[in-house]
Assembly symmetry: C2
Homo-oligomer: 356 residues x 2
Amino acid sequence: MNRHEQESIVNADDLQGVCSQLYQKVGVAKTDADTIAEMQVLMDLRGVHSHATRGVPGYVRSVMSGDTNPTPQIKVLEDNPASVLLDGDRGLGHLVGIRAMNLAIEKAKSASIGMAVVRNSKHFGAASSHAMRTLEHDMIGFATTNGGGANVAVFGAMTNSIGNNALSYAIPTEEEPPIVLDMACGAVAAGRIGTARIYNEKIPLGWGLDENGEETDDPSKVAAILPAAGPKGSALAMVMDVLCGPLSGGLMGINKKYQPGDAPPEKLATAHFFLAINIASLTSVEEFKAEIDRQIRMTRQAKPRKGFDRVTLPGEIEWELTQERRANGIPLHKSQLQNLEALAGELGVPVPWKGK
Amino acid sequence: MNRHEQESIVNADDLQGVCSQLYQKVGVAKTDADTIAEMQVLMDLRGVHSHATRGVPGYVRSVMSGDTNPTPQIKVLEDNPASVLLDGDRGLGHLVGIRAMNLAIEKAKSASIGMAVVRNSKHFGAASSHAMRTLEHDMIGFATTNGGGANVAVFGAMTNSIGNNALSYAIPTEEEPPIVLDMACGAVAAGRIGTARIYNEKIPLGWGLDENGEETDDPSKVAAILPAAGPKGSALAMVMDVLCGPLSGGLMGINKKYQPGDAPPEKLATAHFFLAINIASLTSVEEFKAEIDRQIRMTRQAKPRKGFDRVTLPGEIEWELTQERRANGIPLHKSQLQNLEALAGELGVPVPWKGK
């Protein structure tokens, strides 16, 4: 079956409404629920399904089980002229991340650069959904996290030894779409291997190793994800882990498998790191944006290699897809919709697309 | 001829003395000359010959031609609580970088994070030689530059469209060697293709494209370097360019080919970006370092993949090589020594290893 036959088309607003209500049903305040749903639907619009509404049932059930706090009271543990250290109160990572980035933006307004480091949070979704929040403030945004434990083999290793930590930069523009880098330090995000599993597709060699340390094209046999560009992605993953874990007074991802008792629980939970850089504190925002726009236009004019129709900018395809899907709907795998519908049934949330 | 037969062994202190005197002969103050020579010999010790004393004749001749300023008067253009914007006065990039990172470190002492952005500088050598300067202050260091114009093909392009911008993070440790990431955003630093040319060796496919856009294994035919990990390295290169060029009020690397007159010369020159993160402002330095040490030891215990003897940390091989080469000398290609000797002859600097 091709992809198309496995999918249904859902309207973005309908999807956002359902997701927000699901979060509200488990105790998330309406404005917070709307925000999280909006961030997740944005990733479906951008085609980043690995970090989109597919995760909603998992997040909601984690609140239901008591593992994730729907109404976190975020504590400021350290407050410096250009930084804060926060305790996320084991809150939904999207919410914790929003509040942390807001604080980084405030620091950057007064100090030129603002840093927010967070421990004791939960998975915060797509790193770019946080980095992009600086754009409307004419700031460069950076976000990273050491959420997912250890599922990448360090360069040269055959076993999992570092997290597949994600990092994102967002750069404001004037007329062109913003430049948005959002990458896993592994060859690929775990969620994309998950996508291949859901669609029953092979994966390229170079993404992962099986349990014998051999490269595999079977997404169900991946025991360890390979690092992007060998030693480069491996080292970047380690650095991102340091910026989140140890810098927040927490642990590296690989040590988070310890049981509470081995270490205080707040050190074992997910950590994040955010930067906001205030362009106006250094140079003319207008000139800055004009130069980025110029780079974007020059890059598009580069001659494509064999196998490429055109040259695109980081985040450009996602930007175009967003416009197209806002107009025509989002294709989602039927099994994902069934998971959402099952949860909606449990929690008494009406689903407008049911029976389509 | 194998590598060994093409090389001579030189003592690190001898090499440093000669390089320092060469810089002094063209007007660099003794302490500055010593510092630059030390940074460059350190890269030979670490095995990073692409960014080491091989570059000395080029730097020195650039001073002789008037293109590089040996006694830069660095101007502070903007001074914020957590950042500075500097004009490097077209000075030797090593010197400009040192002063900029010192200012970032000072800002981080008071504000928690310090940022220094520099325009109108010259090539600053290895990014890690700047990032590592934070280590003795118990800070995390970050350095990047958009030095080299445009020699990397953006992902999907066959022609040069972005700089092979380098970035480095340095992370302090207690007992273990520091974690030092130093990477080009291209598949490889241009200098490593240069090394292959010097030694008359082939390069792996995947490093570069020839003028027809085909991958080549001939280092003399590389017309464009490929980005590391495709879209990831391509986007990282673009972001690093933005942090240096437009954020400093200068231009993106690709636009620096403009002639003065099209844009003010200070916008066309090399730019840098530095961060220093003060660990003590957020958490216990002792606990931080203990956790990094623990990660390092756990990583070494990871089971090696086929083709690997052991698993090493970023910067670990370079650290070991440094100890070994301090004791036994540095192997350098004879043609590199001849270049140094020729310049030393011109400038009247005695060469202790001559005739070996």
